[in-house]
């Protein structure tokens, strides 16, 4: 006869090495399984908790898959119109200079419809943090071409691949922004492996710490997957991202302490 299964509670204080931060609201995320958005949410909220600044933080969510970020982040937040998050954040930070302010934006939001707001907030050197999720596609509306879609990459509005002659080139807005004098810290990270997740979290911490010094914009790009929009499995999408996105959008710091980081030329596959 089989032994009856006895469920023993193992979640004792001494056993717990990792716990969901209570700055994440306890509800299922609206993201597709395998999507990078949720990981970045967690890193951001863990950082706010570690810095103990939940009460001093005001966040701005975009229009895109992360439009509902405010439902998952247990802080005061505003949902901006598509592309306008940097305008909201500008005014909020100007009127609440002692608060920590961030925007969380996708590539369509930040680098297409909101390009002007992004560039001008950065150029004015506003003292907030921008978290930029670059998945090379419009996830929310069903996988259309984004300003960051790679040459030759398929999307629902570039079904035969992005033809740069007629559809334009992908916009490396992060490099553009790094060259603006109002920008203090620019880095490009990823969240598809534990090591990359740790690095992204460190970058978020650095950016938020720098808000206290009023030195200008901190801009963190996270190159991320959109397995649904790319029509791949999560595992395939991460592999595809490493092989195709990273060569075009190389990871690492681009500007630190107000100075551009010297970089060796990276070969771009077209």
């Amino acid at each position: 006869m089989e032994e009856p299964f006895v469920k023993t509670e193992i979640r004792k204080d001494e056993n717990i090495v990792y716990k969901r931060t209570n700055l994440l609201v306890d509800r299922p995320l609206s993201y597709c399984p395998g999507c990078g958005h949720g990981v970045v949410h967690r890193m951001l909220m863990e950082t706010l908790q570690e810095m103990d600044i939940q009460d001093k933080t005001i966040g701005v969510s975009p229009v895109g898959c992360s439009v509902l970020a405010y439902d998952f982040m247990n802080i005061d937040m505003l949902g901006a119109a598509h592309g306008r998050a940097p305008a909201l954040a500008t005014a909020i930070k100007r009127l609440w200079p002692h608060k920590f302010v961030f925007t969380y934006q996708g590539d369509g939001d930040l680098a297409a419809i909101g390009t002007a707001e992004t560039i001008h907030a950065c150029n004015r050197g506003e003292n907030f943090t921008i978290i930029f999720i670059n998945n090379g596609i419009y996830g929310m509306t069903g996988g259309q071409m984004a300003p960051t879609t790679l040459p030759g990459m398929r999307s629902s509005t570039s079904p035969y691949g992005r033809d740069v002659q007629t559809m334009g080139h992908p916009l490396k807005i992060t490099e553009l922004i790094a060259n603006l004098p109002g920008v203090y810290y620019v880095t490009r990270q990823a969240v598809h492996t534990p090591n990359h997740v740790r690095k992204t979290k460190k970058a978020i911490r650095k950016a938020l710490e720098q808000q206290k010094e009023n030195k200008g914009i901190a801009f963190i790009e996270v190159v991320s997957n959109c397995n649904s929009g790319w029509k791949m499995t999560p595992v395939q999408s991460n592999k595809w991202m490493e092989e195709n996105m990273f060569p075009f959008y190389p990871l690492g710091d681009i500007k630190v302490d107000g100075k551009l980081v010297e970089k060796k030329e990276t070969v771009v596959k077209e």
Binding site: T57, V60, L78, G79, A80, L95, W96, A116
Partner: protein
């Protein structure tokens, strides 16, 4: 009594904002209202009261700056003229949906398109009927003098916070540019952050441990939820209709005919009224001050007493639709307008009265 000054309408708006305790102004230059930001920058309001003034990169940015600041409970204002106000419509709709207080000044110029920089009232529909997408309204105030440019700015902030709604001041290039004497109200100190948080518990000001997090948004993906949002907005608009109607009447007691006009047109009609009365025509003037909520009941009452109404507007006939809806079809109601930046003369208004209403 407050301080007496000779000022442009645009300057009066700016000075009134500082005195009302406004926390921030965000704007983009456009004629004929650029004096608002120019005056503010010259006044160094940050030194006077701590007020922040920022020149944005576009009207799209200014209205979204307003949205952000208003969502944190701050008292904020922008101003622009017609093309810039068109660019703001998406943002205004978001603010109406998220129920955010702010004052938006439109110093109207002639359109459509780039139009002209001369005064016009052609943005009546845009201001009064919504302007952006979705079923929403905002309170619309129509100043007819530099004094009212000052007073409506203060009133605008009061109403914006009372109803958590954007309020538009619908002025025009003449009222904005002309100089008149104005009695300024005594400065009201800006609210401290502590007072702001106490007075606006709905605002996103940073989540303390002992309250739920606050979300400022106009999104509700659930249709039932979005219908509830709409019903709540509509209930609020009915309250405004009950409580906030403002209008002025002149010589209506014995009047057989009336001019109906707002803003600058009402100023012209005053002169026309004097000219017509000198000819023995018993004419009065009805001036709506709130264009939304429109003075439906008093208009309707007046319609029962007079033989005809001439609606005088610097547009092709916009407010006349609300006048007709208020009064009905029992009397003759006609429109007289000049467009594209032309201001009607008092004489041509009298002639229109004689030919379209009395003789017609």
């Amino acid at each position: 009594m407050g301080e007496l000054r000779l000022m442009k309408g645009n300057e009066a708006v700016a000075e009134a904002a500082i005195r009302a305790g406004c926390d921030g102004y965000f704007g983009y230059p456009i004629t004929p209202q650029s004096e608002v930001m120019e005056y503010l920058m010259a006044e160094k309001p940050h030194d006077r009261t701590g007020m922040v003034v920022l020149q944005a990169e576009s009207e799209t940015a200014s209205i979204n700056m307003l949205y952000g600041a208003a969502g944190t409970g701050k008292m904020v204002m922008t101003s622009s003229s017609s093309p810039g106000i068109s660019l703001m419509q998406e943002g205004i709709s978001y603010m109406a949906g998220a129920e955010l207080p702010a004052v938006i000044v439109n110093v109207v110029r002639g359109g459509p398109g780039l139009g002209t920089i001369q005064p016009s009232q052609a943005d009546y529909f845009q201001a009064v009927k919504g302007g952006g997408h979705g079923d929403y309204k905002m309170i619309v105030l129509a100043p007819a003098s530099v004094q009212e440019m000052c007073d409506h700015t203060k009133l605008g902030f009061d109403l914006a916070f009372k109803y958590r709604t954007p309020v538009m001041i619908l002025s025009d290039g003449a009222i904005g540019q002309m100089m008149e004497k104005v009695v300024l109200f005594d400065p009201i100190p800006r609210r401290t952050d502590e007072d702001l948080i106490k007075q606006n518990p709905w605002a996103a000001t940073g989540k303390p441990k002992d309250r739920e997090h606050i979300i400022i948004t106009s999104l509700d993906l659930d249709p039932a939820g979005q219908e509830r949002v709409n019903l709540k907005l509509q209930a609020k608009y009915r309250k405004m209709e009950e409580n906030e109607v403002l209008y002025e009447t002149l010589n209506c007691e014995d009047a057989e005919y009336v001019f109906v006009a707002f803003g600058l047109s009402a100023r012209i009609c005053q002169k026309s009224m004097d000219l017509a009365r000198a000819k023995g025509i018993k004419i009065g003037l009805f001036r709506p001050i709130t264009l939304f909520p429109f003075p439906v009941k008093p208009m309707n009452e007046l319609g029962k007493k007079v033989k005809g109404m001439l609606v005088v507007e610097m547009n092709a006939g916009q407010m006349i639709e609300d006048v007709k809806l208020s009064v009905g079809c029992s009397i003759k109601i006609e429109h007289f307008g000049r467009f594209g930046g032309i201001i009607p003369t008092p004489d041509e208004v009298v002639k229109a009265l004689e030919t379209q209403i009395i003789g017609g």
